[in-house]
C-alpha cells in the first residue's frame, strides 16, 4: 500500500466502511489530489535571477511554491494550477510563464 491508499478512502467503498458522518480523519490528505492537470501555462524558475525574496511563496494560493530552508526550493507541479500570480509578484523576473506543452515534462492530468 502506498501512502495515498492509506490516507484516502477508496471510491468504491461500501456504506459500512465509509467514515462515520463523512468525517475525514486524515488531515491534509488533499495533497494526494492532483490539480496540476488544470494548468494551461506553467511557471518555470530561473535560478540565476532569483533573489530568494519568497514573494512567490507568500502569494501562491495553492501552496505550490515549496520553500526549502528559507529559500525558493521548487514548484510543486502536482498542485500548481498555473494561475501566474507568482510570475507577476516576482520582483526580479525569475519566473518564466510558458505554455504547458512546451517542456518535455508534459501535462499532468490529475485524476
Amino acid at each position: 500500500m502506498n501512502k495515498k491508499h492509506e490516507k484516502v478512502i477508496a471510491p468504491d467503498v461500501g456504506w459500512r466502511n465509509v467514515t462515520r458522518a463523512g468525517i475525514i480523519p486524515t488531515a491534509g490528505n488533499a495533497e494526494y489530489y492532483e490539480t496540476g492537470g488544470w494548468r494551461t501555462k506553467k511557471p518555470v524558475w530561473i535560478e540565476d535571477k532569483c533573489i530568494h525574496c519568497l514573494l512567490c511563496w507568500r502569494f501562491c494560493p495553492d501552496s505550490s511554491v515549496i520553500a526549502e530552508d528559507g529559500k525558493f526550493g521548487r514548484f510543486d507541479y502536482e498542485h500548481c494550477k498555473g494561475c501566474g500570480i507568482c510570475v507577476n509578484v516576482c520582483p526580479s523576473d525569475a519566473i518564466d510563464f510558458i505554455d504547458e506543452g512546451e517542456t518535455s515534462e508534459g501535462r499532468n492530468d490529475g485524476e
Binding site: W15, V18, R20, A21, G22, I23, P25
Partner: protein, 393 residues
C-alpha cells in the same frame, strides 16, 4: 439512593441536567421551556456544575454552538420548544448527520401561527425525519428518567445519534408532581464520562468534520446513519434494563396497558396517556375489553413490536396531537396503520386529532373514542377515517 420529591417537569429536567453535568450547554429562552434555562443558569452561577454555559442570541446559534461543542469532544446539550426548534431546523439535521450525541429536552408547544404557547406535538413531529432519536414522556418522572437514559443511548458506539426528550408544555413542564430522583453519584456513575473517538480537540489526530460529499459518497454516509437509527432500538432496551436495576423503574419502546386481551384500543403519547389509562380502567370495570399503547420511542419507530402488540385488536384509534395537513391524519396515524398492514387481520384503524394549541383533553373525549371503536368493532365500518376531537363544529 432514590428519594421522593415534588417537582415540576421543568424542575425535574433541569435537575437531571445538573446531575448529568454536561461540559457545555448553549440555550435560549422560550415558553414553556424557559425555566429549564433559568434553573440551569443558577446551577452555573452557583458553581454546582462544571458546565460552560453559552448564552446564545438565538436557538439557531444554540444548536450551532452545541454542534460545535459536541464536535470538539464535549458532552453538550441545549433545550427548546416550538418556534425555537423551528428556528434551529437546518442545524437539527446537521447535528444528527454529523452523528453527534447531543441530548435536547424539548417541551412540546404548538407551532405558530396563530402564535400559541400551549402544548401540542406539531414542533417535534415536524422534526421526526431529522435523524434524532425521539423519546416522549408521560410525566415528570419519565422526563427525568428519559433524560438520564438519553445520554447513554446517544453516546453508545453503535448509535452516536442525538436524542430529543419530550414532555408536554405546561401540562407536565409546569405541573407539580411527586417523583423519585436518584442521588448525584448514581447518575454520574450511570452516565459515565463521554469518550469520543474522533473530535476536534484531539491534538494527535486532527479531523475534518462537515465536508462536501456528493453523489459518490453521500448515499453511503446516509445509509450508515440509517443503520445507527436501527441499532438504537436494541440500545434503548439495553439501557432501559440497566436503568431499571438502578432505579427500579421499567422502560421499553412503548408501554402496553391492558392490551393482552383487549379488542379495542388507542395509541397515545405523552401526558394524554394518563387520561387514557383512567378511561381504560373505567371501561374495564364496565366489562369492556379496552386497552392502550403508550408510545415512548417514536424514532426509531418500533414497527414490528407495535404490530405484534396490536395484532389481535379489532378496532384501533390513533391519537395525534398534531396535524400533518396531508388529509390523511396526523403524523402518528400513517406509520401505525402502515405497521399493521403486514398483520393482515382486518384491523380497523382510525385517527383522532386532539389537543391542538393546548386544547384540553378530558376523560369524556377518550370515552367517546372508545364508544366509536365499540361501534366499529360491531359493524366493521367506520364513519370517518380522520376525526377531530374537541374542536367546535
Amino acid at each position: 439512593m432514590n428519594k421522593k420529591v415534588a417537582l415540576t417537569g421543568n424542575e425535574a429536567v433541569a435537575l437531571s441536567m445538573k446531575q448529568i453535568n454536561p461540559d457545555v450547554v448553549a440555550a435560549y429562552p422560550i415558553t414553556p421551556q424557559t425555566e429549564i434555562v433559568q434553573f440551569f443558569s443558577s446551577f452555573v452561577a452557583n458553581g454546582q456544575v462544571d458546565t460552560e454555559f453559552v448564552t446564545v442570541e438565538s436557538e439557531h446559534s444554540a444548536m450551532s454552538a452545541t454542534v460545535g461543542a459536541s464536535a470538539a469532544g464535549a458532552r453538550a446539550m441545549t433545550a427548546t420548544s416550538a418556534n425555537g426548534l423551528a428556528l434551529m431546523w437546518e442545524v437539527v439535521y446537521i447535528a444528527a448527520s454529523n452523528r453527534l450525541p447531543i441530548v435536547m429536552p424539548v417541551v412540546n408547544r404548538a407551532l405558530s401561527a396563530p402564535i400559541n404557547i400551549h402544548c401540542d406535538h406539531s414542533d417535534t413531529m415536524g422534526a421526526r425525519d431529522s435523524g434524532w432519536i425521539q423519546l416522549y414522556s408521560e410525566n415528570s418522572q419519565e422526563a427525568y428518567d428519559n433524560m438520564i437514559q438519553a445520554v447513554r443511548i446517544a453516546e453508545h458506539p453503535d448509535v452516536l445519534l442525538p436524542v430529543m426528550v419530550m414532555m408536554d408544555g405546561f401540562i407536565i413542564s409546569h405541573g407539580l408532581e411527586n417523583l423519585e430522583v436518584m442521588d448525584d453519584e448514581s447518575v454520574k456513575d450511570f452516565v459515565g464520562t463521554y469518550k469520543p473517538d474522533h473530535y476536534l480537540l484531539d491534538i494527535e489526530n486532527p479531523i475534518t468534520m462537515g465536508p462536501l460529499a456528493l453523489f459518490d459518497f453521500y448515499f453511503e454516509v446516509k445509509r450508515q446513519q440509517a443503520e445507527a437509527m436501527k441499532n438504537a432500538k436494541d440500545v434503548i432496551l439495553d439501557v432501559a434494563k440497566e436503568y431499571k436495576d438502578l432505579s427500579g423503574r421499567e422502560y421499553g419502546l412503548f408501554e402496553s396497558y391492558k392490551l393482552d386481551d383487549a379488542e379495542i384500543a388507542i395509541v397515545v403519547m405523552s401526558s394524554a396517556a394518563g387520561t387514557g389509562k383512567y378511561v381504560v380502567d373505567k371501561l374495564r370495570e364496565e366489562g369492556k375489553k379496552a386497552g392502550l399503547l403508550k408510545l415512548r420511542v417514536f424514532r426509531p419507530f418500533p414497527h414490528k413490536e407495535i404490530a405484534e402488540a396490536l395484532k389481535h385488536i379489532k378496532a384501533l384509534a390513533v391519537m395525534d396531537r398534531a396535524e400533518s395537513f396531508s388529509d390523511f391524519g396526523g403524523p402518528l396515524f400513517a406509520p401505525i396503520r402502515s405497521a399493521l398492514f403486514d398483520v393482515k387481520n382486518d384491523i380497523k384503524v382510525v385517527d383522532y386529532i386532539y389537543g391542538l394549541g393546548g386544547r384540553d383533553i378530558v376523560p369524556p373525549h377518550i370515552e367517546k373514542v372508545f364508544n366509536d371503536l365499540e361501534e366499529i368493532k360491531e359493524t366493521g365500518k367506520y364513519d370517518k377515517l380522520v376525526n377531530y376531537l374537541g374542536v367546535r363544529e
